[in-house]
Symmetry: none
Subunit: 221 residues, 4 copies
Amino acid sequence: MSDTKPAEPEKPRRRQARGERRMAQLLEAAASVFCKVGYTSASTNAIAREAGVSPGTLYQFFPNKEAIAVELGERLSHQMHEAHSQVFTEANASLPLPDMMDAIVDPLIEFNCRNPVFLALIHSSDVPGKVVEEHDALHAALLARVEGLISVFAPGLPADGRTRTAEMAFALFTSGLELVLAHEGTERDAYAAELKAALLGYLGPRLDPDPASSQRSAARS
Amino acid sequence: MSDTKPAEPEKPRRRQARGERRMAQLLEAAASVFCKVGYTSASTNAIAREAGVSPGTLYQFFPNKEAIAVELGERLSHQMHEAHSQVFTEANASLPLPDMMDAIVDPLIEFNCRNPVFLALIHSSDVPGKVVEEHDALHAALLARVEGLISVFAPGLPADGRTRTAEMAFALFTSGLELVLAHEGTERDAYAAELKAALLGYLGPRLDPDPASSQRSAARS
Amino acid sequence: MSDTKPAEPEKPRRRQARGERRMAQLLEAAASVFCKVGYTSASTNAIAREAGVSPGTLYQFFPNKEAIAVELGERLSHQMHEAHSQVFTEANASLPLPDMMDAIVDPLIEFNCRNPVFLALIHSSDVPGKVVEEHDALHAALLARVEGLISVFAPGLPADGRTRTAEMAFALFTSGLELVLAHEGTERDAYAAELKAALLGYLGPRLDPDPASSQRSAARS
Amino acid sequence: MSDTKPAEPEKPRRRQARGERRMAQLLEAAASVFCKVGYTSASTNAIAREAGVSPGTLYQFFPNKEAIAVELGERLSHQMHEAHSQVFTEANASLPLPDMMDAIVDPLIEFNCRNPVFLALIHSSDVPGKVVEEHDALHAALLARVEGLISVFAPGLPADGRTRTAEMAFALFTSGLELVLAHEGTERDAYAAELKAALLGYLGPRLDPDPASSQRSAARS
DNA sequence: GATGAATGAGGATTCATTCAT
DNA sequence: TATGAATGAATCCTCATTCAT
């Protein structure tokens, strides 16, 4: 019993240093390839090549192509969550709606401009009928966040209406985001403005004029 | 209507008639396969199999896979154009905005519900960055139509703003359409309503209160 | 309707001439490779190479490696059946037991010497626990034949005993056959004699001294 | 018995003790994997995983996959030898033949039921033609033992006949053993009886009615 | 026109083995 | 000594496309 692991909790796996780096490297390479050719057309060999490693190495870290996308999606999801969780502060708690929209959407746009794979991943389960299980987790998680936001700002909506509104708003956002990412410089900004206008136009009439701030703080989680 | 071969009793070239039938057969099969697995994952062999012909036959009508999508897109585009060109009549010329939106969008939704490939094709050039040349023709054509409509209803918009508005409205429409197609029955209707609400919310503030009917007739082309 | 096949039953597929030849060629190549390295270690690429065709061609005729083995097994099974069905004639109906054994086993040995793959295929589902479904069909078919023979010569055996006897006799035969095939010339003959001796020694005491000839004729099917 | 390291309290080299344990651990894992998927399909990575160690560790003890099988085979061979060397005692020296067969074969069957890898290893050089060098050592050793036994009980046989008889008996035994291992409970016992009957039927007529006991004692080596 | 055979590069994935740490 | 990362050739199989018949 004593030789199979003397239960020292601080060294479960030390050598992961190199491995952790490789994993990041592979995810970066995958991001690059996914952006270039899309998830479906991306080949694991191409990802490995882009990362400068052999195909076998890739499979030491990921069991298959999908796992790469999933891990990438989760990491970006967390990053985005962190970057976005500071949105609801007292500072913008009672802003007028357009400014509120800026406060919410601008960081999202910025994040996605810095991480264009994210959109590629969201679109990766693109075949409408064939839902790819694992891929949909990302979609579902994001949708849940949107639905949470909506339930804060429009608490009066019934459940099914809320889901539809969330789906629609999410669809609107991602498709607008695609336009934003397709342009650069001032054009990009102009499209960002369009996107926010569209969201405002769609969601504005559905929102409560003044939701309680206590409800808003609940959305911080 | 006249170009779809309404059974002319003369027999100038029966081979071409048969060829036309084969082509339609292949396009139908392609539509089915594209819907099932998406353009990228669709194999020409699968299309030929679905059509009940050999791979060689397929290549007698289309030089490659993309040409199938292009031809399919063009045909559907024409069909949609025909189905939609009757929208602007005196009857709905001066309807209130929401009814006008119904009059414009409902036929489009209906058409896409009957021809779900269309959306698959629009999304077929899925990689945001990598524009696939040929595929984009469809996108460009549709966009031009949207831009035409917008220039009718909002003639005050400058050219670049009009393009952006058109792109945004088109993106909004296609992404909403995806939701519509993903549901059935009353849910589908509800999503259609949501989509129209989004379009109204986005476009409403940009539209002229009363565009001249003469300009409207120009949109029929 | 008339162009999709005017129902002429004599030309369902004509071009199979070349294909049929290829198939035989591939099966021959597979036989060779299976003999050389065994089923498990045989690669489809190696089979294609041996047949002088590209990997893709192989897959035009067989969906996977197992299908090759199955088809090969079935063809050989039929051949053996034909070569063996003439064993029961009046000539040897009432031979003494050892001569009867010669009459039955010698053609089997000869067949297997001419087609050594057969034994390789029988052994192909070799992992004891993991029964490979399709492969077992061959095993089951052969076993059934053995059981049939036994029920003719030893009609008094109960069902479970008959199955066990059949399994044992079959195992004995195949393992002895392996020895036979491993040698050549007079050595081979000597091993064949040993094999028959073993079968006689095992089955002799179980057999009826004089089974009715009517029952024997039933085994010809 | 003395070579299995019966816990000597001195500590000349503890590393080797630990190494010995690792080795046993690895061999046990290999046995498990070989049984589950067969030798050919067993991967060294799978064995290492089953043993709870890294691939590198495995290669610190064995130069390659085959060496694992060889070592495993040798150890089991020794164990079997020990378990079997006590068979020839005065008690059963002059038993009637069937009882003698029980006395010899039953322990072998029992041993193989407890160590099913053994059979897997014997069959591991499965391709009849392609003798795998190292693997055959096991085969040769076992065969030699069988030949020894036969030369005791049938001293009159000429050398080549003896070899053939030994090969045949060995083949018969291993193939019957496979059947035994494939069943459980009373079925297993029934197959064991069948196996012994087959061996008796084959070897019985070849054995001397009363071999000298001095010769028997020679078989103990 | 139609067929189906042929191609061969490329896809995901595995595996025995080696090596830096 | 143990680890786990690294390798790269080899595995099965697919696919867009071509070609002889």
